[in-house]
């Protein structure tokens, strides 16, 4: 597998608090990479650093072997942030097709994506009538509009009911089968176990380990990712 994203020596502080401490991480093309960590571990900050939404103090972000530029982010990265909420006074299809037009996508693509996300029936409804799960799926559709190589998701299942979580996880599997590289953060460990090719554990702003799920489980002789995670961060 080839490296698609490389983070080298990423440091970031807010005031005097060091939030990211020398992060080194490689993401390979076609994998589902899960970033695990407790609240406040630095997951969201790392994602923002990857996407250039914050200015890092030092370090380097590379995309396909060269320094990641704005145009790389705009064309090759799809992003669904935590607690995303689109303009509620617009209809789903209206939001998606206008956004798509700006990204040079044909209107038909917006319809197809809504169908893929299971929102075909709701396409002419105002977003304010959508449930949290529907909004997440609409957000996923929005981040797929430009057909990005890398999909970055920050806590994509947060606040969803079990059915909503299953739907989003299934969609991620489907997208990965279609060749997309997925990088997502979560602290819901049960979802990671059957989904991720590799997981990275971030704790107090530093990467504790990066390995395949099976390797992590073997290391602590357990079949529970939760237990392995807690042992890895020294919490159990």
């Amino acid at each position: 597998m080839t490296k698609i994203v490389t983070l080298t020596g990423i440091n970031k502080s807010f005031a005097r608090t060091k939030v990211l401490k020398g992060i080194n991480l490689d993401i390979f093309s076609g994998e589902i990479f899960g970033l695990l960590g407790v609240n406040g571990a630095g997951k969201t900050t790392l994602i923002k650093a990857l996407l250039g939404l914050i200015n890092i103090d030092s370090g380097r972000v590379e995309f396909q072997g060269r320094s990641r530029s704005y145009s790389d982010i705009n064309s090759q990265f799809g992003f669904l942030p935590e607690n995303f909420s689109p303009p509620k006074k617009l209809k789903a299809i209206e939001f998606l097709s206008i956004l798509g037009r700006g990204l040079g996508v044909k209107p038909l693509e917006a319809h197809n994506l809504l169908e893929l996300m299971g929102l075909k029936e709701e396409k002419n409804k105002y977003i304010k009538t959508f449930s949290r799960g529907m909004i997440q799926r609409l957000g996923l559709a929005a981040c797929l509009l430009k057909s990005p190589k890398v999909i970055v998701l920050d806590e994509p299942t947060l606040g969803l009911d079990p059915l909503g979580q299953v739907k989003v996880i299934e969609l991620l599997r489907q997208l990965n089968k279609d060749g997309k590289t997925i990088f997502f953060s979560s602290h819901i460990l049960s979802q990671m176990q059957g989904l991720c090719s590799r997981v990275g554990i971030i704790h107090s702003g530093a990467i504790k380990s990066v390995s395949k799920v099976e390797e992590l489980l073997d290391r602590y002789a357990t079949d529970s990712l939760e237990e392995a995670f807690l042992k890895e961060i020294g919490g159990a």
Binding site: L53, N74, N83, F84, P86, P87, K89, L99
Partner: protein, 253 residues
């Protein structure tokens, strides 16, 4: 350009369906009714009262509408991470200019609607001067500059209240400065005169945008006025946009 147009379209469609927009229209409608009543009571000055009060109402409601809508929308987009999604799809300069253009379109629509209401009330109550509508063009340009300030302060401050107050303060200061200059010119010291003149040149020069009295009571300004006021507004808005872009790119989202 297509990207900017799409972002403007998203902002405009959202803003035009917000309560603020309908609220401003309804408020202006009732305000016009009040102006009509006042003009009936002002025997001999009916037209003057209606025109003066009507124009003040149009400008004030337009400014309040664009400032409140822009600032609340900007901070809502920040809070709901929509801004992050836009920034992952578009360049910062496209995001800012798209948003500003959306609100410029909102201001334009509002001024058209309010001038229609104003024209109707004028026809029904005291007679209508069609040339009066020309005076709305500088009002529109003024709202464009104010939107530029709203955008600048939204990027500069982390609180929506601060951004709102700062923008309204700039608007009120620029309105009050020409009168303050006259007073200080007559009674003030050298430092006061110099200071106020410097501030007057830095802020939008509100008196230059005020042509309704000239249209109502003498003659409309020539084409050269419209050329220069348009150029002034474009340059002013452009400078604001450059500063805004610099701050926006430095910010973290």
């Amino acid at each position: 350009m297509k990207k900017i147009f799409c972002l403007a379209c998203l902002s405009f469609r959202e803003a035009v369906r917000e309560k603020f927009f309908f609220g401003a229209i309804f408020f202006f409608f009732f305000y016009l009714g009040f102006c009509a009543l006042l003009s009936k009571l002002s025997v001999g000055y009916s037209l003057k009262v209606l025109q003066d009060a009507g124009f003040i109402g149009i400008e004030l409601t337009a400014v309040v509408l664009v400032v409140f809508s822009f600032v609340t929308s900007f901070f809502k987009e920040k809070e709901t991470s929509l801004l992050q999604v836009y920034l992952s799809n578009f360049k910062p300069r496209e995001v800012i200019i798209g948003k500003i253009l959306g609100y410029v379109a909102l201001s334009f629509l509002y001024l058209i609607l309010s001038s229609i209401f104003f024209g109707l009330v004028s026809v029904l109550h005291a007679g209508f001067t069609p040339q009066a509508l020309v005076a709305l063009y500088p009002v529109f340009l003024k709202t464009v500059i104010i939107i530029g300030f709203a955008s600048l302060f939204s990027a500069l401050f982390s609180s929506s209240t601060l951004a709102l107050l700062a923008t309204l303060f700039i608007y009120l200061s620029s309105e009050a400065l020409p009168s303050a200059l006259v007073i200080v010119g007559a009674y003030g010291g050298l430092f006061q005169k110099g200071f106020l003149r410097a501030v007057y040149f830095m802020l939008p020069q509100a008196d230059k945008f005020e042509i309704s009295n000239r249209i109502f009571y003498s003659s409309a300004p020539g084409l050269s006025y419209f050329f220069w006021i348009t150029l002034y507004s474009i340059i002013y808005a452009f400078i604001l946009w450059i500063i805004n872009l610099f701050i926006f790119q430095k910010n973290e989202y």
